[in-house]
Amino acid sequence: MKLTRLRLDQLKQFRQPLEIRDLTDGINLFVGPNESGKSTLVRAIRAAFFERYKSSSVDDLQPWGDTSATPEIELEFDWQGEHWTLNKRFLGKKRCDLKVGSQHFSGEEAEEKLAEMLGYQFPGRGASKAEHWGIPGLLWVEQGAVQDIQGPVSHAGEHLQSALGQSLGEVASSGGDELIARVEKERAELLTTTGKETKDYKKVLEDYRHSRERLDALNQSVEQYRQQVDQLGVLIEQKQTIDAARPWEEQRRKADTAKTQLNEVQRWQSEQRQDQQALDNCRQSQAVYRQQLKDFENQQHQLTQRAEDKAKAEAQLQECRDRRPQLEKRRADAEKAYEQARSRREQARHQAERTRLQQQIDELADRQSQQADALKQATELQVALKKLHAQQPDKDIDPAALAQLKRTEQALSELVIRQKALATRLNYELEPEQSITVGDEAVTGEGETLLVEATELHIPGIGRLRIQPGGTDVADLLRQQEALQSEQANLQRRLDIESFEEGEQRAADSQRLAQAIKHEQARLDILAPKGVDALRTTAEQDGARLETLRAQWAQLPEVQADVTSEENAEADLEAARAELKRAEDALNQHQQQQGLAEQASANAHAEWDKLNAELQAPDRKAREEQANKELTELKAREHQLTTAIDARQKQIDAAQPEVLEQDIERFTKSANAMETQARERAQNIRDLQVRLEEQGAQGLEEKRDEEAQINQRLAQRRDELTRRAQALDLLLKLLKDKRQALTRQLQAPLQKHLNHYLKLLFPQAHLSVDENLMPTTLTRPQGTGEEQGDLPSLSYGAREQMGLISRLAYADLLREAGKPTLIILDDALVHSDSQRLDQMKRILFDAARRHQVLLFSCHPENWRDLGATPKDLQALKVGYSAPASGDRGAERGGAASSNC
């Protein structure tokens, strides 16, 4: 689409017609200062398309204060090989005419045709707003709005998708998004976004569940009721068939018969018990008499036994008495032996003491004589040492000084050798009798002299020769020699010697003397380690002790020769004491034995006396006879009783009393059980009838059926809602999926165009596009990584640039889809710095190769290098169409940061 001509009349500040011709492909740059009419021009173009010619909400188009004006806009453009002319008049004389080639449209038909072509819509009533602008809203950017991309893209969304959709093979849907919103709304009435049931739906589910629970409970009650009815039927039948015959009475009769039989048997058993008792008594009496007779017999035997015991005790006592004298003698002997042993041990002790003292005396006397010798030698050594010490100071010499002297002498002799080597040799061979004087010395014959210093040679008769030895070393050596000789003399003086040899001699003597002293001192230390005085004191002390010991020895008594040793004497004494103890113990023991024997003998006597007296009693014979007679009678009675008991027991056993008792119990219990059962049955029947009557009155089954009906309806409702929810869910999913698939198909080409522009601004950057074809995130390389930023988070300038790039990318996309594109930028990019602006200009220039661009600016200096001839609006206004001067803008401009 290419706009070729534009004409305004009676529109805002253009009270007079303004015509702009010769619009070119690519960029058309309009410049002018503030209020020169740029925005009016933009407003006029927008009004021509967006506003209904009939609209009464466009009075802002009239020149100020002129309410009778008819704002008029005429546009000419080429599109798809045809020339289009649009003439639109508002307010005063409303009209709209559109000529396309030879065709002519007017009024709303013309407006709709344009709207469809460019992809926008008209408002229902009132002025056109952003949401109606569609695709032009995206490509025609108002002042300061280029950075806002969200709104325009969403307003254009549907138009974009339907416009672009055609190029994608009819996949877009005209009403799709609206439909999705509708389905979402319907679904939201049943399901939450996460697929949970919503309030009403949930209530139906709950109602159903509660109804189901009630129904189950009722079913159970009905089932219970039926079971009880059946039970009642069974009970009533049993009552009629069983209880009517009173079967328990027969049982009671049987029990009575058995009871009569049992009573008879019990009487026999009682008699039997009495006889048995009598028999037991009879047998016990017999035993008593038998025991009595046996006792009589036993007493005779006992008397004999006791006589024997008495004799035995007396014999034992006598034996005991006989043993006493022997034991007493043994003790006396032992006492005597003990006394003797004790005396012998005393003597042995004295002898041992004497021997010990004698030994000490001998040892001490011996030591005293040794100490006297040592003392004598030590005293002599002490004198000799004193003498040696007196000699020592004369021979003493400082060894360090001596060593120094030795080194000095060596240095001197080395020096002499070097002097000899360096000295001027004067060989001479004089005529006999002739002599010369060398230095102060007269020389004759032949020989050699070393000259180490300037020397005068006086040859008599001839004169004097002065010989100066060459080189400096000779003189230096001479000076060193003098220094060394001086040191030598000093050292000898200090050491008080004439020569080094003498010093060495003295050093050797001193060493020898020191050794002698050391030797003598060692000997003295051996003899008197603690000194000679200590040695002397010890000797005197030993002498005193010897005197004391000798006095002690003299006081001890003399002893016999055959005395045994002290140890033997002690052992003998111990043996004697043991023997004495044993003898005394034996005697004591015997005395006890004798006491016991006397007691036993007395007891035996007493027992025999007592039994003997008893046997001799007078009524004993009569008692024995009486006992024998009673025993015989008792035996006869026992026989009689045993016979009677045996006969009766046979009778009892035959009657089987236990079985009879069981029979009674069994028959009685049976009768009771039968009666109880009948009573219970009757009671149960009454209970059941009452209960069933109560339940019957509730109309359980009817209630159950009613509940079933409710339940069935709820189930139906639930199923309907469930099916609808599932259907809406499916529908929404399918719609979204398909839409997303479509969006993906659209995203790729848009992305391509975006990147095309973006790489001119930020190489390697990437602007992502979401499913609504909205640019979202800018990713730029940053160091080694990446920097990501959502569009709204970018700086104002960057947002502006991204906004423009996105719009251009959309334009490219539309153009590829064969849609008309016209780009209008009213003072765009005022926030971009000069470097970015340069890049953006490259981008704009690139875009302008494919799209016509109308660019309005109050900063002409910013756009001089855009490759377009600026049109100065002010000049156009006064009908003077000349290139605008950029310099004037630059004078005013400065930083282009404010809107015009």
Partner: protein, 382 residues
């Protein structure tokens, strides 16, 4: 010449859970109305007695009100009503009958035949041999004792039984409560009035099922009638005439749609049904979207015309045509969604049902959208 009214299977207390609440209560009420109709018929026909051959009540445990209403509905005929317990209202130890007796709801002219013993109506000229069920089910022929039972000379012998005549009711071959097919002959009965089979059925000249007086199933077997039975004298062949007593006809209609014109045909057929019926419609096959809309529109009208009109369309696949899609403006991906749903609805499972419903919802929305946007355009044009 004794004259009887033979009816059975009133099934009082039956609930109709498959219907809408309002319809269900009207259908339940219709059963009471049927008794009134029977009473009126009995009076009009001047019968000597009304024989009710079992299943007077649908359940044992009914509310006092239902029991009272039942007996009160009989007031229109003051002659004897002979009520026989059937399998639904068997004469158990505790039953709807004992309940009714306790309530004193049973009028004097109503005889409850709770025990299997001969009842002699000497003045009226007949003796009754009843075979009441005293258990819910039995596998014995309860009418067997009829063969051995003596009745006074000169009286008609009328049998009353409830169950399945052996070998006659194919669908219920193994059913319980059997009755020998030749019982009327072996027991020398003049007439054997039967209940249990809800349709009208003649077993032989002396043995018949009267059917229920008010239809309650989708079965076309002559339900909704009562029989007037005339017997000249003992041994004479009964003269039987049927009278319609039912209010509502129950109609089950099934159809398969294949081509567009089938809808037209179906509507014609449905138009021909008697009004105020209880209709159950099941459709299978395929239909395009416009046809579907037409159908829904028609069914809406039909629902109003009938007592109850239930339609089952889950067997009907929606096949949108190109014209449908164009008419719905279902371009782009919405068109694809329609295509996908169309494929998914094939088959029988739950998923197919969901897809079918989804397709119907989508079509509905698109249609509404179309009409709104059109109306919007019209409005904005103004």
């Amino acid at each position: 010449m004794p004259r009887f009214l033979h009816t059975a299977d009133w099934q009082i207390g039956r609930q109709y859970s498959r219907f809408a609440e309002e319809d269900a209560s009207i259908l339940a009420d219709a059963r009471f109305t049927a008794i009134e109709t029977l009473a009126a018929l009995a009076t009009e026909q001047a019968v000597d007695a009304v024989l009710v051959a079992g299943d007077v009540f649908d359940a044992q445990n009914l509310s006092d009100r239902t029991i009272h209403r039942t007996f009160q509905a009989m007031a229109g005929f003051t002659g004897p009503w002979l009520l026989l317990p059937g399998n639904h209202d068997a004469a158990l130890a505790e039953s709807v009958w004992t309940h009714a007796q306790r309530l004193s709801a049973v009028p004097d002219n109503v005889d409850l035949l709770l025990t299997p013993e001969v009842r002699v109506y000497q003045d009226l000229g007949f003796a009754v041999l009843p075979a009441p069920l005293t258990q819910r089910q039995t596998y014995n022929d309860l009418t067997e004792w009829f063969d051995r039972a003596d009745t006074p000379e000169g009286l008609l012998r009328i049998g009353l039984a409830h169950g399945s005549v052996e070998g006659q009711l194919a669908e219920e071959i193994d059913s319980t409560n059997p009755i020998a097919a030749d019982r009327a002959a072996t027991a020398r009965l003049d007439y054997l009035a039967l209940g249990d089979w809800h349709g009208y059925k003649t077993i032989d000249a002396r043995t018949r099922y009267s059917g229920t007086p008010e239809q309650e199933r989708f079965k076309d077997n002559g339900a909704g009638q009562a029989l007037i039975v005339d017997i000249e004298r003992p041994g004479a062949e009964p003269q039987v005439q049927s009278h319609t007593t039912g209010q509502f006809q129950w109609i089950k209609h099934q159809d398969t749609l294949a081509v567009a014109s089938d809808i037209e045909r179906l509507m014609t057929e449905l138009d021909a049904l008697p009004p105020r019926s209880v209709v159950d419609l099941t459709l299978n096959g395929e239909v395009d979207l416009s046809g579907y809309q037409t159908l829904l529109h028609y069914l809406g009208g039909a629902e109003a015309r009938h007592r109850s009109f239930q339609s089952h369309l889950s067997g009907l696949n929606l096949i949108p045509t190109e014209e449908d899609i164009a008419a719905l403006h279902a371009d782009g991906y919405v068109g694809e969604v329609i295509g996908e749903l169309r494929e998914r609805q094939e088959g029988q499972g739950e998923e197919a049902d969901t897809a079918r419903t989804a397709l119907a919802i989508l079509a509905g929305m698109l249609r509404e959208n179309g009409t709104t946007s059109e109306s919007e355009q019209v409005e904005s044009a103004k």
